[in-house]
């Protein structure tokens, strides 16, 4: 099965609904489409946020996401995958990134979307800086994100049996 894959790293905004619709348009073999959109919140722990600024490692960000999309396509019977991640300054209410996974059935689409999100959080070279009341702080990585990514690691040597 050949999956239609799209990976884009961009400064400008995107239309998550249009991107998701593009995966299924004109096809009747897709029975499940899972989309996740990460959105900039307007407050964190009760404190208002003015904006997020995302720094990234150009070249590596694309390569790392493409590696994980290829792994998802190898692991689940997917018909399409789209990952879009923005960088630069993002205001509350704006979309930061999206993942969409299309398959015949929901299990593969849900699993692939979750796998990609968990890996993006811990392996894709992006760093968030938060602006609050004129001051800026780098967002600290969460240990919970590391453990979420670890659950997808398969025991060595089991690949051939699955």
């Amino acid at each position: 099965m050949t999956a239609a894959t799209t990976v884009r790293i961009q400064r400008e905004g995107f239309d998550a609904a249009a991107e998701a619709a593009r995966l299924t348009r004109g096809r009747t073999d897709i029975g499940a489409l899972v989309t996740f959109t990460g959105i900039c919140r307007g407050a964190e722990a009760g404190e208002p946020i003015e904006a997020l600024t995302l720094e990234h490692y150009p070249g590596m960000a694309e390569a790392e996401i493409e590696r994980h999309v290829a792994e998802a396509v190898a692991r689940w019977p997917l018909m399409g995958v789209t990952v879009i991640h923005r960088y630069g300054r993002i205001a509350p209410g704006e979309d930061i990134m999206m993942v969409a996974a299309a398959s015949s059935h929901r299990e593969a689409a849900f699993s692939a979307a979750e796998f990609l999100m968990d890996y993006l959080k811990t392996r894709a070279p992006f760093w968030k800086q938060v602006e609050k009341a004129g001051a800026t702080d780098w967002v600290e990585a969460k240990a919970a994100d590391d453990s979420a990514a670890e659950r997808w690691v398969r025991p060595a040597g089991r690949d051939a049996a699955e």
Partner: protein, 85 residues
């Protein structure tokens, strides 16, 4: 051996530049040894690498560990744990 180093997020801010080309002295074999050497290059480097256990590294745009040999790397990047998504 001349290598391009790239720094991101607060590692970049602490060192005060996004990239530089350095001549790595002989005897430095791994990414971890490179961090120890960099930390000795001045106050700003010492600050950036004060807790080397949390610093992540990539060689030629692929994640590596501190014990990874530098080998024939052209570009080595250092950065904090990632917070995208």
């Amino acid at each position: 051996m001349s290598i391009t180093l790239r720094y991101f997020a607060w590692v970049r801010e602490r060192i005060g530049k996004p990239d530089e080309v350095v001549d790595v002295p002989p005897g430095i074999g791994t990414v971890g040894e490179l961090m120890t050497w960099l930390a000795s290059r001045g106050e700003e480097y010492a600050h950036a690498f004060e807790n080397p256990k949390i610093i992540r590294a990539a060689i030629d745009r692929t994640h590596v560990k501190a014990h990874t040999p530098i080998g024939t790397a052209r570009e080595i990047a250092f950065f904090p744990p990632m917070t995208g998504g």
